[in-house]
Amino acid sequence: MIKALIIDDEPLARMIVKEYLQKHKEIELLQECNDGFEGLKAIQQYQPDLIFLDIQMPKINGFEMLELIDQPPAVIFTTAFDEYAIKAFESHAVDYLLKPFSQERFDKAVQKMLEQRNISPVSKISEPLLEAASQTAPQNQRIVVKNGSKIKIIPVEDVYYLEAADDYVKIFTKEGSFLKNKTMSHFEQSLDKNLFVRTHRSCIVNIQQITRIDPYEKDGHIAILKSGGRVSVSKTGYVKLKEVLGI
């Protein structure tokens, strides 16, 4: 038996997936979720094998929700229209259903998922998809993190700086620091390059937070932030910083 969830904020959109699912006796629908928060809870509770996921949803969108799951299940996206998302899908082999879709198209997606399940663990497949999706709006305007059991949405303007911390990135804000399971180069790519500069192998800084830059040790510099934070600036980082600041 395959355990499945539907996560979509529109009741009628959930209804049609449920209706199409009746044909597939091998799939058991455990719960319908209204939004990403409910979805997260249900995923933790049931550990499903498959989710039908909408992208545009309240508070956190489908991509952001997936980012917060350590081992995402197989995902079939159901969405109406999203240029960026469609691009993200097409470059990676995960199935997606464009609303409105037919029973036949739905069956095909389910079939595809079943076949992929036999070949490889799905979590590996969705990684490049997530990476591609995270380069698109609105992911570059906010960062969604898990803070204990709570979910925190940080607008990028509120970020002071980011620092590498082993397999994680530590995000410093006025409300403290948060960890996110991503790489520095991921953030370097997705954050607005006019606002954030990678000043060091292990640092990305919000330039609006800088009050002054002091020389430090022999070739390096150090940026002092309004918050009092200190961010390392390497030789190449200093060049990049000067360019963006226009000095």
Partner: protein, 318 residues
């Protein structure tokens, strides 16, 4: 004049006058016609002068030899003709130059007017095209999600599906037929808006409630067609996607002096949204449309108080 001052015979005086002036008139007309097709560039007025000298010279030669040939038996007239030639040339030059100058200026002005008209026409076309485009910007999200809702209803509630198809069709027809410059009454706009809201309510179920406050005195007030829908769409989008709770969108219309004032309100989350940045496509397109129609940038204002975001538009009434 010639008859009195120079004591010429009537016949001579008359022939001389008619020929001289007639030819001069022809010459001037020639110059003017010529200038219609040839317009000297700026700073090339020397060409004009050369042309006038040449034409006047030609004219003088014709007069001199023409009249001389006609009246060659009369000694005193021949002398008079000979002596008056320089004066005649000068006068001819002066007159042709004047004619040339005036017609050059005239044609220049005509051309400028034409250019201006062309520019105006081009601007008007561009404006119309832009207005058309702004009006046509129906969010594909809305359309496809509505179709998906209909598809879902078709299985279990065909009556509801049919009703929604009807509403969606009426709404789409509305977006197609309205002209940009055409003003419609607030009552009409509201009917149209209600169609849109009904569709959205089917999509979002109990999460979306609307509250419309309007008074009879605003019913007949005029506004550009389809102006409000993008604002309401914006409010729904920001309201619904900013919270997981149920929301209320309110629309208030009232008269203030000679303006129709419409305020659209939606809740938002202060923590995660930046209303200043929330001026998405919806708002900027309405702002642009109002500017193109009224030439003013102060007709759309937004404010965020506590967790309520308000967009207000002012429509001047004739």
């Amino acid at each position: 004049m010639l008859h009195v001052d120079w004591q010429l015979d009537w016949v001579y005086a008359l022939t001389d006058t008619v020929l001289t002036n007639g030819l001069l008139l022809t010459t001037c007309l020639l110059v003017m016609t010529n200038l219609r097709f040839y317009n000297p560039k700026k700073g090339k007025f020397i060409h004009l002068l050369v042309m006038c000298v040449a034409v006047s010279g030609l004219w003088s030669a014709v007069i001199r030899f023409g009249l001389g040939a006609i009246f060659h038996e009369n000694e005193s007239y021949s002398t008079f003709l000979e002596r008056s030639m320089p004066v005649r040339f000068d006068i001819a030059l002066l007159i042709t130059s004047c004619a040339a100058l005036i017609s050059t200026l005239w044609y220049n002005q005509e051309e400028q007017k034409e250019n201006e008209q062309r520019k105006l026409d081009a601007e008007k076309l561009a404006k119309e095209a832009e207005l058309f485009k702004l009006r046509q910007q129906l969010q594909p999200h809305f359309l496809f999600n509505s179709l998906n809702s209909i598809s879902a209803l078709a299985g279990s509630q065909p009556q509801e599906a049919r009703k929604m198809i009807q509403q969606l069709s009426d709404f789409l027809r509305g977006t197609l037929k309205k002209e940009d410059h055409q003003q419609i009454s607030w009552k009409e706009e509201l009917q149209y808006l209600n169609l849109y809201l009904e569709i959205e309510k089917v999509r979002f179920g109990h999460r979306l409630t609307t509250e419309i406050n309007t008074s009879p005195e605003t019913d007949t007030m005029q506004l550009p067609a389809m102006l409000l829908q993008p604002l309401v769409e914006n409010a729904i989008k920001f309201g619904l996607y900013d919270t997981t709770e149920a929301i209320t969108i309110s629309i208030d219309a009232k008269r203030e002096h000679n303006y129709l004032l419409v305020a659209v309100q939606n809740p938002f989350d202060e923590e995660t949204s930046r209303p200043s940045q929330g001026t998405g496509f919806g708002l900027s397109s309405v702002q642009r449309r109002l500017y193109l129609l009224y030439g003013r940038n102060d007709l759309l204002t937004t404010s965020a108080v506590k967790n309520i975001f308000t967009t207000t538009i002012k429509i001047p009434q004739q």
